[in-house]
């Protein structure tokens, strides 16, 4: 309509973006820049940070097998949790959108999914202990019914319990965006597909799934960043036996090693950004959202 912006409208545009830009500069650019700067500082035992320019922190981290094993373990958890939350999230959303005919019931059920979120993260996580513990519900039930003689150790303080907690905590972050994309699919598309002879699976595979790509990508992004950035769930649910990329940062902060913690943070940021870029390569979220 007005392809050549006048001087005045340009000013208006700048004014319009100014508040958000300022917020982002104050609360995102500056902190990240500080972290990057500190990551090149020198650390002196228990004194803390000494301004300097050294790449020792990065060299230390990248040549240390501990870092690599922590990243491998974190990536392992991320992948497992991603797959499980996707399967759960997709089918729960599918059920809500296509099987529940009444919109009110669907919204009601959707709200039901958020009920666990009315309590704190910590409560939701800790409450798994009396269920999974040696003298917990599951073990007691199995022993009393005579299925096993001695309690299953791997239920708690294991990779299993970590995954259980992650799935419990993060599935909703997969449901919401997928639900959102799915509910925008025109139902007549599905009817058309069935009229054209598609099977039930064919409809899911060829129609629903491609149209949910945006939701899946956003959900995956949530889950990846949450799992990659976590150290609390993993340390509580594994009983301190497993670590994550972030727990390395926590350990460094224990004795004031801010420079190396900052370097770890920068590396983690780069890894997460790479994963995010990969996800956005697969799905053009911008285009899909504008659709």
């Amino acid at each position: 309509m007005s392809p050549t912006p006048t001087r005045k409208s340009l000013l208006t545009t700048y004014l319009q973006v100014a508040p958000l830009t300022l917020v982002l500069i104050c609360f995102f650019v500056v902190p990240v820049a500080l972290v990057v700067v500190v990551s090149f500082f020198r650390y002196q035992m228990l004194v803390g940070i000494v301004p300097d320019f050294t790449i020792r922190n990065y060299v230390d981290l990248l040549t240390n097998p501990t870092t690599w094993s922590l990243y491998i373990s974190t990536l392992k958890f991320t992948l497992i949790v991603l797959v499980i939350t996707f399967v759960l999230g997709f089918w729960i959303a599918y059920f809500l959108v296509f099987h529940v005919r009444n919109l009110l019931v669907a919204i009601g059920l959707f709200l039901l999914c958020t009920v666990p979120f009315w309590t704190s993260n910590i409560i939701r996580m800790i409450s798994w202990r009396p269920v999974l513990g040696k003298e917990g519900l599951i073990n007691n039930a199995l022993i009393n019914t005579g299925i096993i003689d001695s309690p299953l150790q791997w239920l708690l303080y294991s990779d299993f319990s970590v995954v259980v907690a992650y799935v419990h905590l993060f599935t909703l972050f997969m449901i919401v965006p997928i639900f959102n994309s799915m509910s925008r699919i025109d139902k007549s598309l599905l009817e058309a597909a069935i009229d054209a002879g598609a099977t039930r699976w064919g409809v899911v595979w060829n129609v629903v799934l491609p149209l949910c790509k945006t939701g899946i990508a956003l959900g995956a992004l949530f889950v990846v960043t949450l799992v990659m950035g976590d150290f609390f769930v993993v340390s509580v649910m594994s009983g301190g036996l497993s670590g994550s990329a972030t727990s390395g940062i926590f350990n460094d902060l224990q004795f004031l090693n801010y420079p190396r913690a900052a370097a770890s943070a920068v590396i983690l940021l780069i890894v997460v950004l790479m994963i995010a870029t990969a996800i956005f390569r697969l799905v053009d979220v911008r285009k899909e959202l504008a659709r």
């Binding site: 228990l46 004194v47 513990g133 003298e135 301190g240 036996l241 004795f255 090693n257």
Partner: protein, 429 residues
């Protein structure tokens, strides 16, 4: 030094004090002697006592505020948190309730001020464990960071540790104890007599160790040495080779499934023990009390190799001056005057002034907590829940017996940075 009467002796009013604005009023008041004005001003003072959860207790602040007439507030942090606060934000606290080894960071940083012994009225009554480095007439263990080695400083502004006794200290003795392993007597199924039992294959999948590098490594070294698997020149200051060997053994145990969990907080250790996930583990005394209050049998088992001792001190931050410093001295005097000693005895800790602490306990409690006698009636925790029944004897016996057997003190070793790196490997393994 001239004996001072009350808080202010003329000798204590330094020029700096008088010159410092508001503080000058307090100084002048003291010289001319108007204690009522002083007491009026003191009411407005708020002191922040900052330390770890086990000793920074709101009940103490409440009682202190009531007894002293000014406000004492408690601010709880974890071990690294206290170091962070003292170094990065020293003005955010007034009295630091630090562990002995933490003074090795705080003192050279210059964040603490020297405390004048002459102003601590009950100094002469305080335990020689801190003031003389002896216990029951014998020299106390010097392995690790023993309180005596770090309590004295060169002078008020020296920021150096003194090699012998001086007129200034870095901190006034706080609470202390001798730590050992906690066990579930109903579930271990045999006698526990040695630190080696922590790593015994009998308890595979049922043992836990604390995930705080400085303390965890001590428990591990005690265990490996007791089992004859490793030897140490000085467990209080191990070499890189000794640390490497210790952590390698720990990783081997972890990979073999020996540890059910590693705990980082007090509550975690209580849960592990009370739920029966673990039957033997590193433990702190109040955690044992907490398990007992749930009606679960838990013993703080004395072991033949001795205890791992630790102690706290109350230090004054260097920004304190004038009226606030006077209030802080009042608080330090109050802290070891009895009430705190009686209160913390019930969670298993000892006061630096055992005489006044014992006076604040009933005869039954005194016998149980300090004298190694069987309880004549129920024993309760500081919060009033039952922990022991009549007839029970405290694990480890009397106060004297316990502290005569401290083998090594909690410490910050020379190779601490190396230790932290190694401990990270243990965590990630």
């Amino acid at each position: 030094m001239k004996k001072t009467s009350g808080i202010f002796g003329t000798g204590n009013v330094s020029r700096r004090n008088v010159l410092k604005g508001g503080a000058a009023i307090a100084g002048v008041t003291a010289v001319t002697g108007f204690p009522t004005v002083w007491a009026q001003n003191l009411k407005d003072v708020t002191l922040t006592h900052t330390g770890m959860s086990y000793s920074t207790l709101p009940d103490i602040a409440r009682q202190a505020s009531q007894d002293l007439g000014f406000k004492v507030e408690m601010s709880v942090v974890d071990h690294p948190g206290l170091l962070n606060r003292m170094v990065q934000d020293p003005k955010s606290l007034d009295v630091a309730d630090l562990e002995i080894w933490q003074s090795k960071v705080a003192v050279p940083q210059g964040v603490l001020q020297g405390i004048e012994i002459a102003k601590i009225k009950n100094w002469g009554e305080l335990t020689p464990l801190y003031t003389e480095g002896t216990f029951a007439g014998k020299e106390a263990s010097r392995q690790g960071d023993s309180p005596f080695e770090f309590i004295y400083r060169d002078g008020a502004d020296g920021n150096n540790f003194a090699s012998g006794k001086t007129d200034f200290v870095n901190f006034v003795p706080g609470v202390y104890n001798a730590d050992t392993l906690g066990i579930r007597p109903d579930l271990v199924g045999r006698e526990i007599t040695s630190w080696a039992d922590l790593i015994s294959p009998d308890f595979k999948g049922k043992a836990a160790i604390q995930n705080i590098p400085t303390n965890g490594i001590m428990d591990a070294m005690m265990a490996f040495e007791a089992a004859g698997m490793l030897t140490y020149g000085d467990k209080g200051n191990p070499t890189q080779e000794e640390l490497t060997a210790t952590v390698a053994k720990l990783i081997e145990l972890k990979k073999g499934g020996h540890f059910r969990a590693l705990w980082s907080t007090f509550d975690e250790s209580v849960n592990l023990m009370a739920s029966g996930e673990v039957v033997i583990q590193s433990m702190w005394s109040p955690a044992v009390t907490a398990v007992q209050t749930q009606g679960v049998k838990c013993t703080y088992q004395p072991l033949k190799e001795g205890y791992r001792g630790w102690g706290n001190g109350l230090a004054l931050m260097s920004h304190l001056d004038g009226l606030k410093r006077d209030a802080a001295y009042e608080y330090l005097n109050w802290y070891n005057s009895g009430w705190v000693g009686g209160f913390i005895a019930k969670q298993g800790y000892y006061s630096a002034n055992p005489t006044t602490a014992m006076a604040n306990l009933t005869e039954n409690e005194r016998g149980f907590f300090y004298e190694g006698k069987p309880a004549t009636a129920d024993i309760t925790s500081p919060t009033g829940e039952k922990t022991n029944s009549a007839g029970d004897v405290r694990d480890g016996g009397s106060y004297e017996e316990r502290f005569a057997k401290v083998a090594v003190w909690n410490n910050l070793m020379d190779q601490a940075e190396f230790l932290y790196a190694k401990w990270n490997e243990f965590n990630a393994a």
